[in-house]
Symmetry: C2
Subunit: 246 residues, 2 copies
């Protein structure tokens, strides 16, 4: 699908001129380059990014809708305090994962997973289709194979399929909407080497337990096993020291 290959992994939606401005400016803000309360004038931004006013305004509108800035007449564009940010916006998550507070964010998201995924597993046990059950067990098999062979990249792919399928199988759209976030966490964990070279064998076993419990319709067991998974994951992330940022 690549076309002109939007440079690497960046699976960005931002098509068009305004998208680049949005992306660049958003990354700047989330990285803390501008302190909250800092005011910029639209004219400055036009000139800084070398685009016209309407393009600038469109980018600002989006940033405003994400809570990163506010725009008021006679004042300008004000950087909003972090508390106003829409932290669940996929773009905000992406910018922050690519930025400096990556580790802190991964920790926060880990706690979120600890709450969400066991519930999703329990619901999946009651709602998963046979096809989804098949996908789950297939993913577990892949994990087992590549976990043993040490192919972390393939292991990650299977892991993502597993968790994505499970969240979707919960039948709850809000939980399903978290698939991308969870995938980002899993990927981030691997890419930033917050995982041991060989995945915990217990983790694979627990994944198998979840898949089995879901298929059997045993909500309790699915929830319990999933809780084991995410708790172990968070523990591993905390104990594995983060290497220096690239």
């Amino acid at each position: 699908m690549g076309r002109l290959a939007t440079v690497g992994a960046k699976d960005q939606i931002s098509a068009g001129l305004h998208g680049s401005v949005l992306d660049e400016f958003g990354a700047l803000i989330t990285s803390g380059a501008f302190p909250p309360g800092h005011v910029l004038r639209i004219e400055q931004l036009e000139e800084r990014f070398g685009v016209s006013r309407s393009v600038t305004r469109e980018a600002i509108r989006v940033l405003e809708s994400m809570g990163l800035v506010t725009s008021r007449r006679r004042v300008g564009v004000t950087i909003a305090p972090r508390s106003a940010w829409n932290l669940f916006d996929p773009r905000v998550i992406r910018w922050r994962l690519d930025g400096a507070d990556r580790d802190e964010l991964l920790a926060s998201l880990g706690e979120l997973r600890r709450g969400v995924e066991p519930v999703a597993a329990g619901l999946a046990a009651r709602h998963a289709t046979p096809e989804q059950c098949g996908t789950l067990t297939g993913a577990v098999m892949q994990m087992a194979v590549h976990g043993r062979s040490g192919d972390l990249s393939a292991y990650l792919a299977a892991d993502i399929v597993f968790h994505r399928t499970l969240l979707e199988a919960s039948g709850n759209e809000m939980l399903g909407a978290l698939t991308d976030v969870v995938a980002e966490v899993l990927a981030g964990r691997t890419h930033h080497h917050l995982m041991p070279a060989h995945p915990e064998p217990a983790a694979i076993r627990w994944h198998a337990e979840v898949a089995q419990a879901v298929q059997a319709g045993d909500a309790e067991a699915a929830e319990r096993a999933m809780r084991d998974i995410v708790e172990e994951a968070n523990r591993a992330m905390l104990t594995t020291p983060s290497p220096a940022t690239p």
Copy 2:
């Protein structure tokens, strides 16, 4: 902090012309007035909302960033399928709560709470400041008073303070970012008469338990009591039949 107790009343950010268009159009889309895949031309939208092209484009940019539409050259503005929507965007939640799939959404959000809030309670037990503990116990007292007197509105306000404070006290920004969503659920539940006329006494007792456990730093107990709260809430919401929409 209360100020004028925003409880449910349209706390809309949308200032300016483009905000109204965004709000109106977004509500239309989320309500299903346009089927996914339906295509509109910008010119049509200009005329429909009686605004200029630039304003229309700004609104569309924001809608696009929420995943509600896509805009492509030579084609027009296409309504995106639900799976692409940014379901965690506060505005999307608001539109849907005001629209037809309110009940379904409240159910989904209830399950989300079931996952998130117990974890938040556990974390709060380890991170809450003395001041936050005070706010919690104060809120519980208010709930007890107004629960007995049958003042549902005041009860709701105290309930919101309780859950907001707890999520913030978790020290986890992602969980903290869910405060508005949780407040919407609580408010929606009351306003749409999905709650009994007199709140469950057990619920108040559990709130007290949570507050106490948080103060004592007992994460296990806080988590358990909070689990009781949300499970009871979901049960009550399921069993209380939803009255006709106003």
